[in-house]
Symmetry: C2
Subunit: 82 residues, 2 copies
């Protein structure tokens, strides 16, 4: 399992409810690919959302996010953490 | 206090030790601007580092990172979190 940071652009104006609903949509199906979305942070002004996950691959992160309705623009493994 | 995500590019090949040292350099002076760096994640392959902090302003995050020797390329407020 590797940790990943993925980034969504174009989310200008996202609300707390929309972020919570998007996260719930991920949590509802993530087990099918052995992914776990741990946290997400959003900047409604620049329209950027960052999601932190643990997953077997970047492709698994991509697939869960895409099936949940919000394909990410970037998925980076982040093997180092402090 | 607001939460911020800042991003550093061009950090290809960063090691766990270098990430830990950079974080320690922030922690050593962050109190001077009432900033707290909570966590950082690095992708040595793409050279990207993400830092999560709480701070009074983006400028305070920028100044502490710059004085610690690693000016960020982007600083985004992330007022929403799940």
């Amino acid at each position: 399992m590797t940790r990943f940071m993925d980034v969504h652009h174009g989310m200008e104006g996202i609300t707390a409810d929309q972020l919570a609903q998007a996260h719930q949509a991920d949590l509802a199906i993530e087990h099918e690919e052995n992914v776990h979305f741990e946290a997400a942070w959003a900047d409604p002004e620049s329209g950027t959302v960052y999601c932190l996950s643990e997953a077997p691959s970047a492709e698994a992160v991509q697939r869960i996010h895409e099936r949940a309705g919000h394909k990410p623009d970037e998925v980076h493994p982040v093997p180092l953490q402090v």
